[in-house]
């Protein structure tokens, strides 16, 4: 994974978004979104390597796969929410960005409920002995 093309694409996207800003703000926002998407699609291959390593390590350590699944889901939700809220703040809509952040936090909270419950159960189990 060489970082140079990614930085190049990012800078080119920023410059083009900046030139388009005064002329056509909508196109500038779309250029920024397209740049973010393209950079992520480049990163996807390397990300899957890390995820498989992470899951195999946790399997060897004997951790229940459900927890790993939830952790991966939370990471995915966090990434998408950050992408959307940054795009919204960039184009000036900070109210919408705040709503997206709020919904992301709520979604992550809901995803992590099972872990919380199992933690409480283990603690009460220990206390009973």
């Amino acid at each position: 994974m060489n970082i140079i093309p990614i930085i190049g694409i990012g800078l080119i996207g920023t410059v083009l978004a900046l030139t388009l800003k005064p002329i056509k703000p909508e196109a500038a926002m779309i250029v920024a979104l397209a740049t973010g998407t393209i950079i992520f699609l480049i990163l996807v291959r390397h990300l899957s390597v890390i995820i498989t390593l992470f899951t195999t390590l946790s399997n060897n350590a004997g951790i229940d796969f459900a927890f790993i699944e939830i952790i991966l889901k939370i990471v995915g939700v966090a990434y998408i929410v950050q992408l959307a809220s940054n795009t919204a703040t960039d184009s000036g809509q900070s109210a919408i960005a705040a709503k997206i952040d709020l919904s992301g936090k709520l979604c992550i909270m809901l995803l992590s409920l099972p872990i919380l419950l199992s933690l409480v159960e283990t603690i009460t189990g220990l206390m009973r002995q």
Binding site: L20, K24, A27, I30, V31, A34, I42, I80
Partner: protein, 65 residues
């Protein structure tokens, strides 16, 4: 059509549509200028939508959301 040339294409269309808008407004045809601006925007959006849908499906499969 991925990578940098998508970005260049989107920026190019944006600039061309902006110039067209100016020319048409100078020529006194405001309504056509508005139509070309909207058309250019729709074209740009459709081009980028393909990339965004691949992004969302990749994230779905990878993080099995």
């Amino acid at each position: 059509m991925s990578g940098v040339d998508l970005i260049f294409r989107v920026a190019g269309i944006g600039i061309v549509v902006a110039v067209l808008h100016q020319v048409l407004t100078r020529a006194g045809r405001e309504d056509q200028a508005m139509m070309t601006t909207l058309a250019g925007l729709v074209v740009v959006l459709v081009m980028v939508l393909g990339e965004i849908s691949t992004l969302f499906s990749t994230i779905k499969t990878m993080f099995n959301l």
